[in-house]
């Protein structure tokens, strides 16, 4: 724990009878790229606004580098925000927009001019200083908003769905750009988004929020491979979740009974070890075989019938109906090794137990 960590301690925010953020405790390490991921209404934007000082917590404490900023006015915090709507000042030039914060802080003219020019270069808008925001494209406006916040060298930069208004291609481009800038300036970025792919691509640490609480927090790959709950398993990517009863534990494995199939999951990959649970496997970790005889030894398998096959280019997505009626999604890469299965074919779906996980239902 370094000095400039952002700590949110037992913070609750209610609006009338509605609890937007519910007893949230979170430490965001200095210099990290942190993503708050969740569906709309999960409390992620409210959390961000409390850090910015635009909302006051109902209860709890927010500290930045040991300094209590819970009730500090927004204009006194060493924190800047990139708003979803950008909120650029339409009556000022791009350069004046970027210089706004420096001028309020009383920076001298020469330094202000130099910093503004450097920052516009950083976001590749060097020639656009004299233009008005309305004369720029959406992507350019987004970069002005970023420059306007970053130029103040805040301790923490808050980004509220900053790429939400951009089209897909531009969004991809800006994701890489934002990541590059963050690495370059080394400032803590707190990025709020509902796009799981965006969160996973950019952030060092992702916190999945639901109903004002954090469901899981961790590195993207770690969370994707071993989600903490059924919600995270489905919110971060796609998962096949099979209802199962835990039957026992033996040599490092938890055995379960899933609709009459006896399956095993390594104990280290089990969030629950008793009662009714959900066995999860990612679609790309499932494989197809012609029959149970063709399943490699050590793999778990269930039989099924292919009901749908859709070609998506890099892979083919199969829907396989299991004997108990629900459908499993299987992604098979189009590597040209196996012949495609046709709808109606009898297949065995198999996976390595090390790729499965068990979560509470």
């Amino acid at each position: 724990m370094t000095d400039q960590d952002l700590c949110i301690e037992n913070v609750t925010k209610t609006f009338g009878g509605f609890t937007a953020v519910d007893d949230l405790t979170l430490t965001i390490p200095d210099g990290s790229f942190f993503a708050l991921l969740g569906a709309s209404g999960c409390g992620k934007t409210t959390t961000l606004r409390m850090v910015a000082g635009l909302e006051e917590p109902t209860a709890g404490r927010i500290t930045l580098g040991g300094l209590d900023i819970t009730r500090m006015r927004p204009y006194k915090r060493p924190v800047n925000t990139v708003f979803q709507s950008y909120a650029l000042f339409p009556h000022m030039s791009v350069a004046d927009n970027v210089a706004f914060g420096l001028r309020r802080k009383g920076e001298n003219r020469a330094d202000t001019r130099r910093k503004v020019a450097e920052m516009l270069d950083l976001v590749q808008l060097g020639q656009y200083g004299s233009r008005r925001p309305a004369q720029l494209s959406g992507g350019q406006q987004q970069r002005v908003a970023l420059a306007r916040a970053l130029v103040n060298q805040p301790e923490v930069l808050l980004l509220d769905e900053p790429l939400g208004a951009l089209d897909l291609k531009l969004r991809r481009q800006m994701q890489i750009e934002l990541k590059r800038i963050q690495t370059e300036v080394g400032i803590t970025f707190v990025h709020v988004t509902h796009d799981q792919e965006e969160a996973m691509t950019m952030a060092d640490t992702v916190a999945v929020m639901q109903a004002g609480r954090i469901e899981q927090l961790g590195a993207p790959a770690e969370m994707y491979e071993f989600p903490a709950s059924a919600f995270v398993a489905n919110f971060l990517g796609q998962s096949n979740l099979i209802k199962a009863e835990v039957t026992g534990q033996a040599d490092g494995h938890v055995t379960v009974d899933a609709h009459g199939n006896r399956l095993a999951v390594p104990s280290a990959r089990c969030r629950v070890t008793s009662g009714t649970a959900l066995l999860g496997v990612r679609p790309e970790k499932l494989h197809l075989a012609d029959g149970l005889a063709a399943v490699p030894s050590g793999h778990a398998a269930v039989q099924g019938v292919v009901t749908d096959a859709s070609f998506t280019g890099v892979s083919t997505q199969y829907l396989v109906r299991a004997p108990w009626g629900s459908e499993l999604t299987v992604f098979v890469p189009n590597s040209g090794i196996a012949a495609p299965a046709l709808p109606g074919a009898q297949v065995a779906v198999h996976w390595s137990p090390a790729h499965s996980f068990l979560v509470g239902s």
Partner: protein
């Protein structure tokens, strides 16, 4: 002949446009022309007979010649400026409250603020007169000012509110996020963006106050605080001094100059924008 009808068929919209423009501007042109006429008597101030037209600069050089004319004009300007100042400040504050804050009675305030606009002036004039008499407020400048501020506020609120409602509430937050105090955020971001609305509201308020006759006539009572519209109405009974036409023309020209200046400014700004893009 066929060529003529063809020409008409092609240009009739344009012609209609000219006819309409003429319809709008002929009365003003007549007043302008009459400002250079020396009528034979005060009863013929508004007789435009080109055979007896007697050209003179006198109405312009001796613009305050008629007794009481310029005094009433100054009173109207004074009342107009005072009412505009008060109504614009109060109306702007009301607009901010209505757009920015949620409070008890906001909905009904929003509706009631339109009431003075909808009430016939004659009704408002009589009720104000009754009120002032009942409260025993002496008639004169004060009662006129109170009445003018009252009916101007509604128009200011409507005009400023429209401008404010179109403003992203995040702008204020963005300014505060960038170290501006609430006052700096207002002065540097919100005010410059709302200012065109406030200026428009003030111009509207002034013109409403300046030419109000009906309400003013009631709330002046028996005092001798005669405003310009009341002076004209009063002198109409005895014959209007020809200087009135010169003043009317001057007022028209001043407003016209404002419009032209505004247009030039907009045009120059868009030209500059085109040059930078």
């Amino acid at each position: 002949m066929r060529g003529f009808w063809r020409w008409i068929a092609e240009k009739w919209v344009l012609l209609l446009g000219f006819v309409l423009l003429a319809y709008l501007f002929v009365p003003i042109a007549v007043v302008m022309l009459l400002s250079f006429n020396q009528p034979a008597s005060r009863n013929t101030t508004y007789v435009l007979d080109l055979s007896t037209f007697d050209f003179t600069w006198h109405n312009w050089t001796d613009i305050c010649g008629a007794a009481g004319l310029c005094d009433s004009l100054m009173r109207s300007i004074y009342v107009g400026l005072s009412a505009t100042l008060i109504a614009t400040i109060l109306g702007t504050l009301i607009s901010f409250a209505l757009v920015r804050y949620r409070f008890w009675g906001r909905g009904s305030t929003n509706t009631l603020i339109f009431l003075p606009m909808a009430t016939p002036e004659i009704v408002m004039g009589t009720s104000l007169l009754t009120l002032f008499l009942g409260l025993q407020i002496p008639m004169g400048f004060l009662t006129i000012l109170i009445a003018h501020v009252m009916f101007c506020i509604s128009f200011v609120v409507v005009t400023v509110k429209a401008r404010l409602a179109g403003l992203d509430p995040r702008l204020q937050e963005a300014a505060m996020d960038l170290y501006a105090t609430p006052w700096q955020a207002f002065r540097l971001v919100i005010l410059p963006l709302v200012l065109p609305g406030i200026v428009a509201a003030a111009l509207l308020a002034f013109s409403l106050s300046f030419d109000d006759f009906i309400i003013t006539n009631f709330v002046t009572g028996t005092s001798d605080y005669t405003t310009f519209p009341m002076f004209i109405w009063g002198s109409n009974l005895r014959g209007i001094p020809p200087q009135v036409n010169a003043i009317a023309t001057a007022m028209f020209l001043i407003s016209f100059a404002f419009v032209i200046a505004g247009q030039l400014r907009t045009r120059r700004r868009s030209a500059r924008r085109a040059a930078t893009s």
